[in-house]
Amino acid sequence: MNGVERPPGNPILRLEDVRKEFNGHVAADGVSLDVAAGQVVAIIGPSGSGKSTLLRCVNLLEVPDSGRITVDGQPTDAGGRVSTRDLMNLRRRVGMVFQSFNLFPHLTVLRNISLPQERVLGRTRADADARSMALLEQVGLAAKARAHPLRCSGGQQQRVAIARALALDPKIMLFDEPTSALDPELGLEVLSVMRELANEGMTMIVVTHEIHFAVDVADHLIVMADGRIIEQGGPKSVVNDPRVPRTRTFLSAIRDR
């Protein structure tokens, strides 16, 4: 799939003029974005550019001050007024993977994945566990089902976190710097799981520092700075031939690391 600025047909995610401020600091400054079903969008940019904030607005972990977000045809207007039912529905359809994994340490790996299925989707324990095991197989961690998260490496924990999010059959998967807290080696395991997921056609939005991943896997690359999208397009063209000077400076700083 080629990256195009405005994909044809109905986008599975549409952000319109989303704005979010924290104590006078503008984290997202009227950002608009469309994402088509099956697209993999990577967002890069310097720290404080608002990438994470934008991502967290999609599943309303941050409530935008203004603007509109439409997920799979369901709009949610900003200003903090969202009904609990709409909120739950939204989060059912959008899965999130965090930089610090955020697994539940007092539960086994299996239970981490099954509990949300039981409580959120109402699946029986047997069904939930079956699905959990299938997902663990997929990410290569079936052997760790009965272990506790803290006994697993960072890379393993993150893969469990991905399985946990996938267990709810979301339409969109959000990744907030999924490998930033991992050693490069462990990060590779996670990236390969993400690559597979992309190949299977999952709609993904990934905030990352991994330019290689963005270039290899993403259909569309967005560069953010100071709360705004300063450049976007096909990953290869943006990275090899950035049009905006700020993008250039940012990319060279990353390369020098």
Partner: protein
């Protein structure tokens, strides 16, 4: 009546020991029941005090502050001497349990609340992101972990409650101190009998504190 053949201290101690042990049993009973009711009520107040709704939160915090701000002795005396003034008359044992339960509830509410706050914010976010309801997040994620975190402090407090139970002596409850004092009053051997009573208390509190210390260490390495 049995007459002691020798006046050595150990003989006296063995004479007094049965009565003191009876008193110790009462102390332990009062402590145990107060911990039971107090911890349960403490958990409830901890959740109420953490509520998002100010209407629920403020009265709960106020009650907890009052419970913590009052000396335990005052609490005991209010329940036993004061309540009859409004028509509630309790016997020494129930009064002691009620008063100590209220004190325990107030302190444990704060201890548990701190434990709940200490649960990493990332886990709440993950629960939210997964679409779990507030109630489910609290029940399955926050409370189990909050309690684990609070456990060492709660155990330390339990030991404290045994010490506080000695104050029920002022209500006339026949617990350990009360027994020791009355033996002292009749024999005038206050020092000897009080030291024995003290040793009985220490026989429980010192090993218990040591166990809590060990447990705390194990908890730290497991995380």
């Amino acid at each position: 009546m049995q007459t002691s053949l020798s006046t050595s201290l150990l003989n006296d101690w063995s004479d007094w020991l049965p009565r003191l042990l009876d008193g110790l049993v009462v102390s332990l009973q009062v402590t145990g029941l107060s911990l039971l009711f107090g911890f349960a009520a403490g958990l409830v107040f901890a959740l109420l005090s953490s509520s998002a709704s100010p209407v629920v939160r403020w009265p709960s915090l106020l009650l907890v502050e009052i419970g913590r701000g009052m000396p335990s002795l005052v609490m005991l005396q209010i329940v036993y001497f004061g309540l009859p003034g409004v028509g509630v008359t309790l016997d020494t044992f129930p009064a002691s349990v009620l008063a100590l339960s209220l004190t325990t509830a107030s302190y444990t509410s704060e201890i548990i609340r701190a434990g709940l706050r200490a649960v990493p914010a990332g886990e709440r976010e993950a629960a939210d992101a997964l679409g779990m309801s507030r109630a489910d997040a609290i029940r399955f994620i926050i409370v189990p972990q909050g309690l684990r975190i609070a456990l060492p402090t709660l155990m330390g407090f339990a030991i404290l409650v045994l010490q506080i139970s000695a104050l029920a002596f002022s209500l006339g409850l026949p617990e350990l101190l009360s027994q020791a004092y009355s033996i002292g009053a009749s024999t005038f051997r206050y020092l000897d009998v009080l030291v024995l009573a003290g040793l009985l208390y220490l026989a429980i509190t010192i090993p218990a504190s040591w166990l809590v210390g060990r447990f705390e260490g194990r908890l730290a390495t497991n995380r």
